[in-house]
Symmetry: C2
Subunit: 464 residues, 2 copies
């Protein structure tokens, strides 16, 4: 019944699932182990992992975990947080651990080992069979964020000399261990990658056709040391679901599957968003990062931007006597700086995003500037007119209204031009365009707007 | 030779490919059609489409396109921009059009029809066979950004009564048309979805086992009207590569594959980033959106934020006499407002991102506030100390240094607390947390910082 309701909710959407109340714990307390086991088996592993995550360090987690069939417990295990994985491994026997390791996909095992303390790593290595141990050691050698660290070695390899029947038989015999079967990889005797063939093409071909005649030789692949952002770009560009990873001699060493790439895309987006808000990206999740580390990632940029804001202060200081003559001008400073900053950040964020998506590059800078110039004429006119009307209504001062409106119009145009060109110039200089986002633009625009403001005021207002 | 160099570059990364110079056009001019055809056939379709895109409205595009084998021309076609697709369809014969339509995946056909003028839609519908026509009409009925508009109907369906041998035979017979074969869908007589089975499990099972006994009944699916953002969430949460779409009676009507979901994730991220920079998202790509539309998407927020910046102006106005006594204070206003805004946007962007990723929800608000409070104590102390030192060095004025530093410390703390709590409060009120990003926070912090500044100054500085 419980499981039925889980499924009923699944039809609507994933988000509600987490809010359902399961009562496996009370089943455990009542020692109804068989019932708990049966109900858990019917659940989706991701939902079950979410439920177990929320129990945190409840000692009954180990009991629940032990009730699961070996394959399911391995799958649930791969979805748990580091801390809980560690607690579980510390509480189960060597035999249970070996069982889980046997069922885990190799890339999940490596991800897990990568984050565990040495005592657990030792135990895991000890409990793996020699073949697995060799492969784990090999995978652990690839640097973080490289193609090698993303790949798994559970792919399906066939020989170009085989015929279709032999290939299908091989797939049927070996398929249980393989991460995905959509694509088979054709290699020669020294394991050099010769081509790929989709399982669907193997299946729809006659039994006696040769694999070598069917395979696709135009292969998109990466080297092990390639950066993961580049890998994600290639998956998106070529609509891939799987990509072979080769070494320097073009020997097949692993495959990357799209589910891992989706995680990379999220990670890279998070990094971009952090940079756009003037923060260095954090490595772990926000909630498991300490306040000190978070502060460290933010304070450098805060200081840099603060020192450049002092420049704006110096500009204002320079016009001290003008300001003393007409102290009312100070009331318009936040609006001028703020609106200029907002317009600039609209332009810069738009352009940074299309650079990330590959829609524009440096050579398009003039068409981007021309477009943003027209946009700024429209938005600048709107905000200036509204401002003019407001100042006339409040202060009945035509001169003041003209000064503020002209300044605002010029500031918005300047802000959008600076905002759209800096990110493109950054790509030309091999800098990350995301660094040219709002805070930096705002700082530049602040200084600019005060310069314009006082000069326009001194030209137009009497007695300044 | 040419193709060899393309492949050599492929090993390094996708980005360089676009910069290679092909000379298909000169081959065409020299009427070396066979050579052009052979070299194009060896190319990756995405790269070829990119090359053709850059030729824009060169009339030789049609010639190049006609040289391609039918299947390849359809694939290249699906990667081209709308304008070029239209030009091609207008230049080719009905028979050629029918050939392309025959090879296109149905979801690509529908995407294409969706954006074409009526005259072309008519021709396409006319050239499709009755079955395809019926399916196109059905797919066109789903609203934009719904699961129905994302799905394709080229999935593999099997019957739970069949045995493994019969299922494999069916797959081998029908597989050529199907978008993906990793997962087979098991339905009953009224096409209600009963379960799914991975092809790998079919292949590794004995010939006479029944599909109904092997299938997985814990299905994650969506209804046709579900929002695409929700669909993307479910793919990420459950690590799916394919998901069935059902109608209200749980009848299977289509499948969504992960390559289309990757595009949705990008689209949704772009929308979030736009909202975070105080812009309404645009529907088309930036480069194909006119300046007027872009301005319209930005000006509303610019005006709203401008009017609230006026509040800050009024606060400053209120302390006119204090400012007139010590006009030097104005020089510190940009630094105080700017640094406060930067600290607030760091906090709000961090929290918005973890809300998007599902890492926190409203109930976590107190642990988030506690963390940000500690972060703000550290960052606030750093920037205040640096400021104190700088003012002492420049102005040798202890009172002024104390006033600015205390204000800055308080402003940073307030900014981070406001920045981290507003996005979480937005989720509680069913508002989009992305709207609570930097520009709004900056505006609030500006007002706050001026209030604090003048009050602290009036307490501490003599004669104010």
């Amino acid at each position: 019944m419980l499981c039925l309701s889980v499924k009923a909710i699944s039809w609507i959407g994933g988000n509600q699932i987490g809010e359902l109340q399961f009562d496996f714990l009370s089943l455990i307390d009542q020692r109804k182990f068989a019932q708990a086991r049966n109900e858990m088996i019917e659940m989706n592993v991701v939902d079950l992992a979410e439920y177990i995550s929320e129990l945190e360090d409840d000692p009954r987690v180990i009991l629940l975990f032990r009730l699961l069939p070996k394959e399911m417990s391995a799958e649930v295990f791969s979805y748990l947080e580091r801390e809980q994985q560690q607690r579980i491994v510390e509480s189960i026997s060597d035999k249970e651990l070996a069982g889980i390791l046997d069922e885990l996909f190799l890339d999940d095992t490596v991800d897990f080992i990568d984050e565990m303390p040495a005592s657990i790593v030792k135990r895991v290595i000890k409990m793996s069979d020699p073949d697995t141990r060799r492969m784990i050691n090999q995978l652990l050698r690839y640097p973080d964020e490289s193609a090698g660290s993303l790949m798994t070695i559970e792919y399906m390899e066939v020989d170009s000399d085989w015929n279709v029947k032999r290939a299908i038989d091989a797939v049927r015999r070996q398929s249980e261990d393989k991460e995905s079967l959509n694509l088979l990889f054709v290699t020669d005797d020294s394991r050099r990658l010769e081509g790929t063939i989709r399982l669907r093409d193997v299946l729809s071909a006659p039994d006696d056709e040769k694999i070598g005649d069917l395979m696709e030789t135009d292969i998109i692949s990466v080297k092990t040391h390639e950066d993961q952002a580049e890998v994600a770009e290639m998956f998106k560009k070529y609509d891939l679901v799987m990509m072979p990873v080769v070494d320097n001699e073009n020997r097949l060493v692993g495959i990357i599957t799209i589910d891992d790439v989706v995680d990379v895309i999220e990670e890279e987006t998070t990094e971009d968003i952090y940079k756009m808000a003037a923060m260095e990206p954090i490595e772990d999740s926000y909630m498991s990062t300490g306040a000190f580390t978070l502060a460290k990632k933010r304070v450098v940029w805060l200081l840099v931007l603060m020192l450049s804001l002092i420049l704006t202060g110096m500009i204002i200081n320079n016009y001290n006597s003008a300001l003393a003559t007409n102290v009312l001008l100070a009331a318009f400073m936040p609006m001028l700086m703020g609106t200029g900053g907002n317009a600039g950040s609209q332009a810069s964020v738009s352009v940074i995003r299309i650079i990330t998506l590959g829609e524009v590059e440096f050579k398009d800078i003039f068409s981007v500037i021309w477009k943003e110039f027209r946009v700024s004429l429209i938005t600048g006119s709107c905000v200036s007119l509204v401002n003019f009307a407001r100042i006339m209504l409040t202060y009945h001062d035509f001169g003041l209204a003209i000064v503020v409106s002209i300044t605002l119009f010029m500031v918005v145009i300047a802000a959008e031009l600076v905002g759209c060109s800096l990110p493109l110039i950054a790509t030309k200089l091999n800098l990350d365009p995301a660094l040219m986002a709002s805070p930096l633009i705002t700082t530049i625009v602040d200084a600019l707007s005060m310069l314009v403001f006082f000069n326009v005021a001194m030209q137009i207002l009497p007695g300044m």
